[in-house]
Point group: C2
Chain length 328, copies 2
Amino acid sequence: MTQTKLDPLEFRRALGAYTTGVTIVTACGSDGALAGVTANSFSSVSLDPPLVLWSLAKSAYSLPIFESTDYFAIHILAAGQVELSNRFASKGEDKFGGVAYESGIGGAPLLPGAATRFQCKVKHRYDGGDHIIYVGEVLDLVSRDEMPLAYHGGKYALPARKNLRKLVEGSTSKEFSDDHLGYLLWRAWFHFSAALQANTVVAEFTDHEFMVLMTLFYGGARSAEALAFKSLPHGPEQRASLTSLENLVSKGLACAKADEQGRERYALTDVGRAKALSAGVAAMSVEADFLERVGPREGLVLKDLLKHLILETGGGFPFPLHPGESET
Amino acid sequence: MTQTKLDPLEFRRALGAYTTGVTIVTACGSDGALAGVTANSFSSVSLDPPLVLWSLAKSAYSLPIFESTDYFAIHILAAGQVELSNRFASKGEDKFGGVAYESGIGGAPLLPGAATRFQCKVKHRYDGGDHIIYVGEVLDLVSRDEMPLAYHGGKYALPARKNLRKLVEGSTSKEFSDDHLGYLLWRAWFHFSAALQANTVVAEFTDHEFMVLMTLFYGGARSAEALAFKSLPHGPEQRASLTSLENLVSKGLACAKADEQGRERYALTDVGRAKALSAGVAAMSVEADFLERVGPREGLVLKDLLKHLILETGGGFPFPLHPGESET
């Protein structure tokens, strides 16, 4: 068996295939200096005694601090702590500036907002090539039920619980209905829309009328032009939204008024606002139900990915529900 | 600072907050016996020399094998290897039965299909409480561009790249348009549908007509009853799909025929099949474009989560595109 020296870049890339959480490890040196580094080399080691480990580069600026104390704190970061992670991953010297930390065992700075925090006493310092492996005994832990931040392939990630079932038992994943993005999007929206239609107020409206109603409710008065869902030059959606607007007007739920500049603007009537409020509450209730069914964390990841898809495929579509978008 | 003994269950739960990949570590003992264990205690240690580590319980059945050799292989599992992970996480003695492994350095069994595989020589064995920490020098690596399996909170997961942008810059996440699941689902489907409508064949159809066309194309002949999208008892969707069927018939794309039992079944005509084929190709093309934009791995996670949502909120909706569902 021949053995060639590993290409460091290839090795680093290969390591990226392993998904990890993101931690910040902090300590207070014997001279009172504070250290904090972002690390994804954390690993659980032992249950009895409770041990965890992480590795620090021997070349790290903060090595002398970690070497001068027997205590450190490990923060498993929550999904919202990307900025904190970036700050402690940088080489800056004033990483703690403006951070509201407390002082923990051995003076280690305790950062707020982590999903889980371990306070540790060094049990072993082991040699690990260009790193030192710190094995710490966990003296204290605080855990919050919070979506954690993950890291994979050099990018921040969220752990999405894997769905282990098929839409139809016995189907192969190659089948259209089980694997086609368009079908899945339509289907998911179809379920949401159907659940929404169970509300008698919502049931009075088509999907498009509902969206126009909500746009006027959340986004405020705007022109017919700004209400058109400009999907395409020959846009069937554009026609649909204008027809929907006409329907709302004929039902007495919306009406045209001139603004200060004399431009025609459509707004909801009092009756329209009451309907919209009721429909909006129904939508929130369906959302709450769906998120509970799919799991709140999975819901968060799903929403995150849908936003990503929407942004990547938007190509000039308006965001009709956003107030800032009522055209000038 | 008082210190109370940690509750082992609480400690274990807290460790679950840290997302990990899933590995299977294998070795061949000095007597030729094979060992393989599922482990998520993997961690990268050093770049130069290239070192990685993992931990094995001192009580592990396979400990004597790992102690009798200086070589092991670490497989970072791919998303599709849940079954293999479960098999090597169990206590069974014949874990390798039926697995097409090869023999690697030091005889360590190399399993097929992993996202990344490291072959290692033990550099250090360190004490880690109730575990032994194996630090291995990486002698050989094979890496494939494959979605890896992750693990979080005691469940299998997929790492979804975190979207760091907002739909509308400057909006707060509390706003309806940036955070409402229903809006995001509608919007995502709207983008897909609009892109699809750019195809002149697809543009001849409404969303519902398109779904009925595709159902007959992929799912085969069926009754009008089986084509109704039964969303609700008072179902507007049901009416929509029946109207859509009538439209397809009047355009000469579908027609009713009696099956062997004399029951009325709707099927596509030759012209209808040609249109469906063309529309199906367009749908595949939009899918490919969307998946490229969102990223193939993110697309995989998104589809996985949509399936999960669909399954959790289905409540008796039919799956019209699946062949097995053409009713009897």
